[in-house]
Symmetry: C2
Subunit: 249 residues, 2 copies
DNA sequence: GATGTTTTCGACTTAGCGTCGAAAACTTTC
DNA sequence: GAAAGTTTTCGACGCTAAGTCGAAAACATC
């Protein structure tokens, strides 16, 4: 139920006029566990703001805003994320796509370039008011075409997680293989075998063992080793291999 | 040796001002054979125009131009390609990325959204003057950041050719396996085994046999079967497999 | 000490790409 | 017309790496 387009796309002098803005699809894997820790029910989540003005007042929207003439789109994105969310730096950022459908904004002609941003689950709550992590699996209707934008961001992440080291941006500095499995499962949307995950990531040199953790809140069982990613920058690690879905299920 | 930036990024009234344009990276596999036919030396080529005005007069540039306020970027792209090149429809088109570096245009602040376009080798010569197919392997210096844009387009194609059916947009309606091998080799930049290519594409249901051709200009040898792609729309055929480079070389 | 739980790792299976060589199906030459 | 040469096709084998499974390790609890 979109508002009807009502303003012409030209200013008073009849000069063509449009806005260019940036949007951030900031994703994390959260929930499922007690207090920050991941658990079996960890889900992929996106950072959204509740709009307090028309159009689409009251609906959820992606953070972002206009690009100043003297700044790059990346600078504009960082500026808006910082101002609107109190969000620090992203662990990974890449351009997604530019959305330009003339009808996507009912009031103005707005061209929006969307970026995918990733933060680890350890960075927990957004500081600003009206900002929430929304589960992608159960996304409410969103303002403008932001639903589409979010879907495209998740798609990009899903595609890259199995042949790049992009998961480094979602994982905490140190983690157990079980926690990493939860992250991969949340991103891929299907069961992931720990044995296979461990072997594949080690073979590719993506992760290395840090030590063995004496877990405080342990429920028994062999104490897990802790691991970390060997690199903290995005890299294609194996264009010829993929973590497919488990065949038996 | 770029011109020095000389115009401010605001108009006479001090209002922030920038242009948004579209660019087309139109690729084909051409050359290497006599008269249109492919051959062992087939190369990946990009369609470029020779600029006749500043900035970058005399240099090669990608086709494209401004987006009108009432049209979508796809419409703008089709309009510019048709007007500047006399080029008909593209067999495949997808958005590449948006280039927004404030210094990329020395005169204005120009944000450019680039599209990848593919045409089959059978569509031979561009009609307009000052337009040429340039070999990507030996690309001259280009205007603006177009060199970067072309590189990104080729990268996208290279990445997708082995796990999608995107090659349908580069191949003629009917072809022999040898001709298809030449296309894959030109795109991937390495030797491709015909046996493997045939088996993989057949297993995925990408190609089907049409018949056996009695070749007019044959030099002897067993007459090849002719093949065609089963679909004429882009589709991801196998996210879990890739045509890697030959190991022996 | 026995039991239960979680993690780790080696061993086996399977799928699919890479390679090779023989056979097929033509043209050209002697 | 037979032999030689060329190109294509296809079956067969090998190898790599992902997928699976179960046993052993290393803890907590009873």
């Amino acid at each position: 139920m979109r508002p009807v387009m009502r303003a012409p796309f030209r200013d008073q002098r009849g000069v063509a006029k449009y806005r260019h803005e940036v949007l951030g699809v900031v994703l994390r894997v959260g929930g499922g566990g007690s207090q920050g820790a991941l658990g079996g029910g960890a889900r992929l989540q996106v950072l959204a703001r509740n709009r307090d003005h028309e159009p689409f007042a009251g609906m959820w929207a992606l953070p972002g805003g206009p690009v100043e003439v003297s700044e790059s789109m990346e600078e504009a994105l960082a500026r808006h994320l910082s101002a609107q969310l109190g969000l620090g730096s992203l662990r990974h950022r890449e351009q997604l796509a530019t959305f330009s459908d003339p009808g996507r904004d009912p009031f103005e002609r707005t061209i929006a370039t969307a970026y995918l941003g990733l933060v680890p689950c350890s960075d927990s709550s957004p500081g600003a008011a009206g900002v929430r992590w929304l589960d992608l699996a159960d996304l409410p209707e969103m303002a403008f075409d932001h639903h589409l934008v979010v879907e495209q961001g998740a798609e990009r992440l899903r595609g890259k997680v199995s042949y790049t080291n992009i998961a480094f941006a979602l994982a905490p500095g140190e983690f157990t293989m079980a926690a990493l499995r939860d992250i991969y499962r949340a991103v891929l949307g299907h069961e992931v075998d720990v044995t296979n995950l461990s072997r594949v990531l080690r073979r590719r040199g993506q992760i290395e063992r840090v030590g063995t953790r004496a877990e405080p809140g342990s429920r028994g069982g062999r104490p897990p080793s802790t691991w970390r990613f060997t690199e903290d920058a995005y890299r294609v690690t194996d264009p010829f291999a993929v973590l497919g879905p488990a065949r038996g299920r």
